[in-house]
């Protein structure tokens, strides 16, 4: 365990060192490739003056609301499309089609419908999350070995009981990977939306990134990108990894 930690730490130290050396070699202008030190300075100052913390709060709040809405609507719809042929032919096809649409494509529509408001951002996040979540849930339920429901039916389980006691728990590993994928999509959609939708009700990480570009402040651009990556990683490690480990112990499924 410690060896793994050390190896990982070493890898990232080397990565930053390579970056530093590349800057020292002056191959690219320092305006385009700032040194890790100036990026760290930016992050430090942004943390100290509170911009970063505030922007992170605003972004994460939007993300949670949008993602939550996506799950709230997407999970039941996915269960519906998996269980009814009619829903599969209608909602299922719609989801399959819209899933292929990159979420940034929703931005113009959201701007025209909702103007430069919170609602526009949330709309983009929900649209970016919902369809892939429906597809993942649908796939998950369909992948359940039919023997489970047969065995349950043979023991007298019917209707709602079969759904809550057999189908849902059996689909849980698939639902989780669907939710994980949904999370990644939500994160992407929100960043796209924040970069393109300038609003006054809250200044998120995407906006910081956007203004970094406007001001030609490469240290800010890279610093914010780093923060976005770190948040993504942290959520994966703290939110999804424990659930995955639990599933692995119980189901005996392979770790991803």
């Amino acid at each position: 365990m410690i060896a793994r930690w050390l190896a990982a730490a070493l890898f990232f130290v080397l990565l930053v060192a390579a970056w530093y050396l590349a800057v020292q070699a002056r191959i690219w202008s320092p305006i385009l490739l700032p040194s890790p030190i100036s990026v760290a300075d930016y992050v430090k100052s942004a943390v100290e003056d509170g911009t970063l913390w505030e922007a992170t709060q605003v972004t994460v709040r939007r993300l949670l609301i949008g993602y939550g809405l996506g799950i709230l609507v997407g999970l039941p719809l996915g269960l519906l499309t998996a269980s009814s042929r009619w829903c599969q032919d209608t909602i299922g096809v719609l989801a399959l089609g819209l899933q292929t649409l990159p979420s940034v494509c929703w931005v113009p529509l959201a701007l025209l419908w909702f103007g430069q408001t919170e609602a526009a951002l949330l709309f983009v996040v929900v649209m970016g999350t919902l369809w892939s979540l429906i597809i993942a849930t649908d796939n998950g339920v369909r992948t359940i070995p039919p023997i489970y429901t047969r065995a349950a039916r043979s023991m007298g389980s019917t209707g709602l009981h079969t759904w809550t006691h057999v189908v849902l728990p059996a689909a849980l590993p698939f639902l989780l990977s669907g939710m994980k994928q949904g999370w990644a999509f939500a994160w992407r959609s929100l960043m796209a939306a924040e970069i393109y939708v300038t609003i006054l009700t809250g200044f998120g990480l995407g906006h910081l990134l956007h203004y970094g570009r406007e001001l030609n402040a490469m240290d800010q651009v890279i610093g914010v990108m780093l923060i976005i990556v770190v948040i993504g990683l942290a959520v994966d490690k703290t939110l999804f990894a424990p659930i995955e480990q639990f599933l692995h112990r119980r189901w005996g499924t392979a770790r991803q």
């Binding site: 047969r150 349950a152 039916r153 043979s154 023991m155 112990r249 189901w251 005996g252």
Partner: protein, 268 residues
């Protein structure tokens, strides 16, 4: 000594009655005549083995008795009542891993018990523990399913099927995926449990020797369409050892007859 044809026991009332049961499976490209005019009576407490090559409809027949499938034609009754659907009186033990991986051994055995009204939590727990102990897995009560070997899994499946106290136990090639040694242990277990609890058991297999080892009667099916060809009574004393010579005589005889009906198709 040759295996004799018999009439089903007439002195005991029939637990299961199948009259002229036929079943077809239709897909867009072909229609399979799975069962053709099958008539069968099974007495209370009888151990009946259905034997035949793959595709002879024996599993379909089991599913029909379970109430998981409906016949296209014919009458199926349990205790004089038409079978309308699945229920805890006739439980199925499947061939494949049908245990629920999200539950522990205890949770799996409790699953069927929780579907029975009028049992307190303590009574359920007590029954579940009793049957887990009966199949020799007391130490593994709280284990996860994937931590068990194939033979242990099928023992749990047996405990799960026995726990709700069904009067009929339907076993669909339950030992098909196990190695020979584990199978032999389970033959012993199943005979012991059967003699203690006297369930009516319908056991589907393509292994003639297994059928002779376990059954009071062995019923021979042939495919295309699935039909009953012959019945053999096995009046050997119990418990039976699958390696015994007497048993081998019966199985040789039945295998010979079986080959006559299906010739080269047996392989599947």
């Amino acid at each position: 000594m040759a295996a004799t044809e018999v009439n089903p026991a007439k002195t005991v009332p029939s637990k299961l009655v199948l009259e002229q049961v036929s079943k077809w499976f239709r897909t867009s490209t072909l229609t399979v005549h799975a069962l053709d005019d099958v008539t069968l009576r099974i007495a209370e407490g009888e151990f009946v083995c259905l034997v035949g090559p793959s595709g002879c409809g024996k599993s379909t027949l089991l599913n029909i008795i379970a109430g998981l499938e409906r016949p296209d034609r014919g009458v199926v009754q349990a205790d004089g009542q038409a079978i309308a659907g699945p229920g805890p009186h006739r439980l199925v033990m499947f061939q494949e891993a049908s245990l629920f991986p999200w539950l522990t051994v205890l949770g799996n055995v409790l699953f069927g018990l929780k579907l029975i009204n009028g049992l307190s939590a303590a009574e359920r727990r007590e029954k579940a523990e009793y049957f887990i102990e009966l199949v020799g897995l007391k130490k593994f009560m709280h284990s996860n399913v994937h931590e068990l070997s194939g033979g242990m899994k099928q023992r749990v499946a047996l405990a799960r099927a026995l726990a709700p106290n069904p009067s009929v136990l339907l076993m669909d090639e339950p030992f098909g995926a196990l190695d020979a040694l584990t199978r032999e242990q389970l033959y012993g277990d199943i005979q012991r449990i059967w003699s203690q609890h006297r369930k009516t058991i319908v056991f589907v297999t393509h292994n003639v020797r297994e059928a002779v080892c376990l059954g009071d009667r062995v019923i021979l099916f042939s495919p295309n369409p699935g039909r009953i060809r012959e019945e053999f009574a096995i009046p050997l004393p119990r418990p039976r050892d699958i390696n015994s010579v007497d048993l081998a005589r019966y199985s040789t005889e039945i295998t010979r007859v079986l080959k006559g009906y299906v010739q080269t198709e047996v392989a599947g």
